[in-house]
């Protein structure tokens, strides 16, 4: 089974790093990831996006057909990608930057104030990691929490950034669990 993930938001919201993080963690777990970024002029002044595919075994086609999961950090991203999402796609959306409800009713949208939550972690830039926490809480079968923490520990050698990211990740997880609980 191949899981197709779309990530989109403003440049600067950490979309690309989050995509790479997902792929890296998948590789750490012995899975086969493919990461594909938007690039070049497309990114200017607008919405950046990337795709990640994760599978247990080699993935032939790097193309994304219809995402199973979408992390949507702003309104333009929702506008752009809503149509192509798979039925029952899990959409993790940033309610802080999304101003209208999706038109589609056949998707599962989880909205969270990612910006606010990130600020609560002490860094506006960790909204992406909050989203990651939410994702893993909702789809624990995709990637293991432990590997993600291991990855974060490697990626941010030490100090504030690491703490903030771990906080953000946990905050995301908690957000879901609180809702569940």
């Amino acid at each position: 089974m191949i899981t197709e993930i779309l990530l989109s938001g403003f440049g600067g919201q950490g979309i690309m790093s989050l995509g790479k993080a997902l792929a890296s963690v998948a590789l750490k777990e012995g899975k086969y990831p493919i990461y594909f970024p938007s690039y070049g002029a497309e990114v200017r002044g607008g919405t950046a996006y990337c795709f990640v595919k994760i599978s247990e075994a080699f993935i032939a086609s790097p193309l994304i057909e219809n995402p199973d999961i979408a992390i949507i950090l702003n309104q333009p991203a929702l506008d752009k990608f809503e149509k192509g999402l798979k039925k029952r796609c899990l959409v993790i959306a940033n309610s802080d930057l999304i101003t209208r409800a999706p038109a589609r009713k056949d998707i599962q949208m989880v909205c969270a104030p990612l910006n606010a939550m990130a600020l609560e972690c002490g860094n506006a830039k960790v909204a992406n990691t909050v989203a990651l926490g939410i994702l893993i809480a909702l789809k624990p079968e995709l990637l293991k929490k432990e590997t993600i923490l291991e990855f974060l520990n490697e990626a941010f050698i030490s100090g504030e950034l690491l703490t903030q990211n771990i906080k953000a990740f946990n905050k995301g997880m908690e957000y879901v669990n609180a809702a569940k609980g």
Partner: protein, 353 residues
């Protein structure tokens, strides 16, 4: 580069850059262009660390001619660009071929013609395999279908370039250049022959006669002779360096032919067809020039239908036609960023069967 079990997550552009360094590329000159900017940025950083030379040239023309100089000086040299920039290098590539200088040229193809766009494309096949520059020459050209292979083929290209004294093109597409996937860093090219020394290199005429590097032969008959010699080289390359890969061809009755990222997409289509009990197989040329016609003829023996799939309006199809003159060849292609998707390939083949 994030590493696990010796596989790292890396993009094709970076893998090609890193492979060049592993292959002892001593000189790199390039000019920015999407979608190969990561390659030049990587070289900017790494070449310095390796005590080698990186130049952001003022243009693609300058870059290819700097490479000409570095190669004439006897060093492994590389440049990279994308489609429009490669068009600008055509004169330089013809000079490299004429002067018999080894060099590696990476083209991370995008959509054309003209400024086109920056999406993936495979529309520079003709340019690459039919000498986009003037004169009778060919450049060996290798097309990777994965990030790991992108690195491998860069390594191989340096060896082929040195062995045959010829410029070599690595023809990647934007998908291969941009995507990241697990890859084992390249150590060796797998090229078996011993590298020749470079007595012709320019290093000062010390204890030897003066060396001249040139492609100009004014005296009557001399250029004709030179071309005859070059022809022997092309023939040797045609004989020795055809490379390809196959997938599920042993019992196949219909065959998809595709290269680069499109071959991976086609592979998914083959899997889908197999699930539908259609005996499809995939022939993936790795060397686009010399074209693996021997392999293709072999594989195609029991094949009834052939479908060529390209991110172009139909270029490689000519080589398939030339290789299999007696067969009916079908085509599926899109240009300008269009990418034939697995389901489209499946449908196209189903229609044929």
């Amino acid at each position: 580069m994030k590493k696990t079990n010796n596989k790292v997550l890396i993009s094709g552009n970076e893998a090609m850059a890193e492979a060049a360094i592993a292959a002892h590329c001593h000189f790199y000159a390039g000019y920015p262009i999407t979608p190969q900017n990561e390659l030049i940025a990587y070289m900017a950083k790494r070449m310095y660390q390796e005590n080698k030379i990186f130049i952001q040239a003022e243009s693609e023309l300058a870059a290819i001619n700097m490479v000409f100089g570095a190669s004439a000086a006897g060093y492994r040299a590389m440049t990279s660009s994308s489609s429009p920039g490669i068009s600008l290098k055509q004169e330089g590539i013809s000079y490299l071929a004429g002067a018999e200088l080894p060099a590696v040229i990476i083209n991370v193809m995008r959509g054309g013609p003209g400024l086109g766009n920056i999406a993936s494309g495979q529309s520079d096949y003709f340019q690459t395999t039919r000498g986009g520059g003037h004169g009778d020459y060919f450049t060996p050209a290798f097309a990777p279908a994965s990030v790991e292979e992108a690195g491998q083929l860069v390594c191989l290209s340096f060896d082929v370039a040195d062995y045959y004294r010829t410029p070599v093109v690595v023809l990647a597409d934007a998908i291969i250049g941009q995507m990241m996937e697990p890859a084992t860093p390249v150590i060796k090219s797998g090229f078996k022959k011993t590298m020749p020394s470079k007595p012709w290199a320019l290093a000062g005429a010390k204890n030897r006669a003066a060396n001249i590097v040139k492609s100009f032969f004014l005296q009557e008959g001399r250029l004709e002779m030179h071309n005859e010699l070059l022809k022997k080289k092309w023939d040797m390359l045609r004989k020795n360096e055809q490379r390809y890969h196959t997938y599920k061809v042993s019992d196949a009755t219909c065959l998809v032919v595709a290269y680069g990222s499109q071959a991976r997409i086609a592979r998914e289509a083959v899997d889908i067809l197999r699930e539908k009990r259609i005996r499809a197989g995939l022939f993936r040329p790795i060397s686009l020039w010399p074209y693996p016609e021997k392999g293709l003829r072999q594989v195609a023996k029991k094949i009834k239908r052939v479908l060529v799939v390209e991110q172009s309006l139909g270029q490689m199809i000519e080589d398939v036609r030339l290789s299999l003159p007696e067969k009916d060849i079908h085509f599926l292609g899109k240009a300008g960023g269009g990418i034939p998707r697995p389901q489209e390939i499946v449908q196209a083949l189903e229609k044929l069967v």
